[in-house]
Symmetry: C3
Subunit: 470 residues, 3 copies
């Protein structure tokens, strides 16, 4: 089947509204990309080597893609996801690519399918949709293109118009790659690390004790010294700030915040380090550390982002064989208003404190997140995240939050991706959808075109700059 | 920027559907306003004095508006919200108005922005959108208009076409204002009080004990005499009925109903009066009193309205400085089917008992409220409330409930506002959106135009008259 | 009022999108009906007798219809629902029909109203909407038509184009009716039983003990013999498989699954049989049996369907007088990701195991069900169920699941009805809405027309055949 790319894709179907949307989209389509939260490996840009092959580039690391193929009955190792138990051989890249092409119809209507389509058309100039018959030809064609200098990471970084890119990093990461990249005169882009301390704050994390010991070894304090622990975290954050970080990111099952006194926190910590907390105590300690992290953000200025509500690694067998991020993280119902109240009571209106909330439970947008962001000065509404980062879901998000919180309490779009090549497709999708949403309001007489234009541009530029202090 | 007012605003964008909607809207646009639940001060109509200034009229008391300005970094006292601690001076009205005008873009796409726009255009004839440059001129222009006799509350009441207006009142209110208004031959409008006993039923309310003592003093019974308490509540309800009340309104965190026997209720009450109930016991007692209130409604005919699911005064610091209703009441997940079961088991099909359910958790519309209202004869679906009283939310509400419960199990529109000037804008919005929704069903071949017209008129007239026994 | 039937009903209002939808609908409108889950009485087809009258056929057994009439104030016995207490006389069919016709406006915009409209127009050729004036004439007209051979159940089965119809049956049902029907050379249709063991697995079911005793008597084991109980269930399933069953259906309040060891399960069972389990223990045992049922499905190949989240018989008084399925079953919030985890950990990727999840809590579609089905090979997304089986709800369902799980993880449409005559209306509705949804994606440039056509056909044919192993 032919691979077409509609220049009006994602714009409203009503002709007059589409015309308005086209004009709004025109105003933002070429603006630079600000990507304040994501998972691209900074080494990609430091090394600037050619991508290995289409499977490496588009398939095996993209758990959005591999999970749907898996659901249709294809084992992950057949998709070139490495089996770390060694029990099953991992398919060669070309075979894995064939499985993908044979099953292209599974992606019809999905966000992943849209992004891949965009990349196939805009980046690789493909004119056929993948299928069993053309799999090898497409593989060869993309492979050939990947050897071109214009397909090196840095060239793409420039071609994509990325002005700012944040990575996600371990607190004890030396940030040598970021340092080298910043010092490289041949690379002019701005790439910043992000402080992601979950595995140092959550006693239920399997690496918690080992991480605390590494952190204590680095700082020179005793592993069970709570004050030393806080000081070490603060010092690591300072290291990140020095290296250009703008935010600290927190992934939690529920966004519980707890205000323990220092004595109780210290007592829990010393037991946590010994692996002696029950589930509830561990959650309470993590909730306390979320509050402490907010305090640190108030002090050092790092924007605090919270990604809540995902049950990670739902399938233990898959996790044991293939590791994390293999497609079975499942959202749960998530509450914000009560859980975050201790934090917001303290810091909700604190000077220059920014808290960006992300959710995968879209019921919380109209019920809790927009009302909270419509009052608290520190609170920004995070862009639709993960399973909600898709056309219809993004429009539902806008409809759910705007009537309560307007357009100016949002974070701007966040791609949150480890798939470097999908970044322009994702930002372009968001701009098209914002144009669509705004155009509908104009067509419905709820907004005039000049204000809609200002908002469209602010959503792409002023908002992320403000929310993430860029 | 120019301030325009699209005569087709909120109607569907598809031309044929818009044409159908226009015709439906035409049938209801001029019908009288029935406002069976709201928070307008009846003294406004008794005194009939000119409004002080634009800030007093449109800004400082409207926590929909002040909260969004606050979220953008403006302290509430800068918006002329009185600081009751005296710690910070309260801005003069003109300065507060300037802050609002400078930040008009924050309201783009919001329900508040829509209502203000409507008032600016339809009432004040403004032709420019507020901004920093025209703030003073707009202030002066509106101020000048407020001195005109046509801008006095009674003149507006008539001009708005209000046929019935309910206020919300304390159970011990003597209702002298309502009496005087009813007796005033110069005022022909119908203004009714509403019995709102939350602070007398909920032991966790800070004024509970004081209120019970005042109630007991009034009735002549002992403060901890449970039977005397019930009798006093019944007597106060009778006082309201005598003064034209049609409903009793209940605001609760969760719509829990509990069927305690009289002995257990009496024992809990005597401890409640002494402030000795724990949180759960207080919730149980309140749940018992919600059931008792239903029983009283069955007996005295007052329609029972329940507004559930809002965590009030989320920011303690703001509450302590500026008081309640200052923009930080936040919705929570709310369940109805199990919580209300004891009440519905007893009175769900009781003769002439009407229970109107309001929610700010829109997930409950399709899941619980519409199915309940599709069976129980006493149960009416309340109009979309608070954060859901906005164009997209209202259409979501209609889509969520209609397929299960049809159009005839609803309460009709309820403005629930303390902003007197916004009443016509709100009712007009609801009529436009109902026309839009119905027009879509007609265009989709799901409804014919004559039936749609009948429903459009019934939604504005027959439904609120029936649900609220007007 | 005239009764019209728009040939483009339910298609999108935008003209270009409607044109695309029309073409997609054209490709599926005449395909055979596969109905893999429902509640039609198989005796209807075995006996093949004329339907008694319009009330018997369309009203008294359809609790979608009687509940809305009840909500408007009409007692169920006035609608010819039998009062099993004998307290109130049950109305004669013609009187009940009059009540319905007088209140036809209550069904405007509802799913039931749509299906009835479809039947009135397409089956009975009515040209007037029901009202008080024509009630008797319509009754007579439909009654007369019901005597025609073409209105006998088998003739309708053929005229409807039903290729496969599943009923729902008690585990101890001998399936003699199914056997006779299969053996009848005059009937060529395929009608299969479905194993529905709730009342044998849930200790809180009022008939549990009696059922266990009947089961034990049949199998010859002791009533409290847990191994005998499992073996008897397996034997009954085998009986169903022999008679053509393709699935086992489970109705649960919450989809809890629990992995008890055999000793604990056996101990709980022996107390359950004696009626000695508390509520939580009963839920745990039922959760264990849901896991055991999955194990049996893995072994015998019956597709496992789970219908979760409905609080049955909300009004005890109505239940006592009129029995179950009388319109007051109410959905509750339902969680899947955690509750089903023990089951999915074991069998989520098991060979040839199919688990179809239905929900009446639509928040779970985007949050839990689509992400789960986007990974687990055994898990299929059930069609929108019960209160969600309606035009807007079906489009919300498609929008909620497709972006995450695509089109190929669904069960295909399931009518789940006991109203035999409504089957074509329901399937036609689903096909029109799928055409609408796909057409929008095409018009928005997200899908091309050939792929949309393939998907439209697969949704009606390949998907239900695969999910239900037809």
């Amino acid at each position: 089947m032919h691979l077409e790319s509609d220049p009006d894709r994602l714009l409203p179907v009503d002709p007059r509204t589409r015309e308005i949307a086209r004009e709004l989209y025109r105003q933002t389509a070429e603006l630079p990309i600000l990507s304040p939260h994501g998972h691209v490996d900074p080494g990609l840009l430091l090394d600037d080597e050619a991508f290995a092959d289409p499977t490496e580039l588009l398939l095996r690391h993209d758990h959005y893609v591999t999970r749907l193929l898996h659901a249709s009955g294809i084992a992950l190792n057949e998709l070139a996801v490495p089996d770390r138990t060694g029990a099953a051989p991992t398919a060669d890249p070309r075979t894995a690519w064939r499985r993908f092409c044979e099953n292209w119809h599974l992606f019809a209507g999905t966000a992943s399918g849209y992004w891949l389509h965009h990349q196939f058309a805009a980046l690789f100039g493909l004119t056929e949709q993948p299928d069993a018959a053309n799999a090898d030809a497409l593989y060869d064609r993309i492979s050939a293109m990947l050897t071109a200098p214009s397909f090196r990471p840095r060239a793409l970084f420039d071609a994509f118009g990325i002005e700012f890119l944040a990575t996600t990093d371990d607190p004890l990461d030396d940030l040598a790659v970021h340092r080298a990249l910043a010092a490289d005169p041949a690379f002019a882009g701005r790439v910043a690390p992000t402080f992601r301390p979950d595995a140092y704050l959550n006693p239920a994390h399997p690496d918690f004790t080992a991480n605390i010991e590494r952190l204590a070894a680095w700082s020179g304090s005793a592993a069970d010294d709570y004050d030393g622990y806080l000081a070490a975290l603060e010092a690591r954050r300072a290291h990140f700030v020095t290296h250009g970080a703008v935010s600290a990111d927190h992934g939690v099952l529920q966004p519980l915040t707890v205000d323990l006194g220092p004595d109780e926190a210290s007592a829990l910590f010393s037991r946590a380090v010994r692996g002696r907390l029950g589930d509830i105590e561990a959650a309470v300690f993590q909730g306390h550390m979320l509050l402490e992290s907010a305090r640190m953000s108030v002090e050092d200025g790092l924007v605090m982002t919270v990604h809540a509500g995902v049950l990670r690694n739902h399938s233990t067998a898959t996790f044991e064989t293939f590791g994390p991020d293999t497609g079975h993280d499942i959202p749960l119902r998530t509450g914000y208003a009560e859980a975050l109240r201790p934090l917001l009571q303290r810091y909700g209106n604190a000077d220059d404190f920014h808290l960006v909330l992300f959710t995968v439970d879209e019921t919380s947008f109209s019920r809790e997140i927009a009302p909270l962001a419509g009052f608290y000065q520190s609170l920004y509404i995070g862009a639709p995240w993960w399973f909600l980062d898709a056309p219809d879901a993004i429009l539902r998000f806008r409809a759910a939050v705007t009537e309560t919180a307007g357009f100016y309490r949002g974070s701007g779009f966040v791609d949150d991706t480890r798939a470097f090549l999908s970044i322009p497709a994702r930002h372009d999708m968001a701009r098209r959808l914002d144009a669509s949403f705004l155009a509908r309001l104009v067509a419905e007489g709820r907004l005039d075109a000049p204000m809609a234009g200002r908002i469209a541009r602010d959503l792409v530029d002023a908002l992320p700059r403000k929310a993430f202090k860029l």
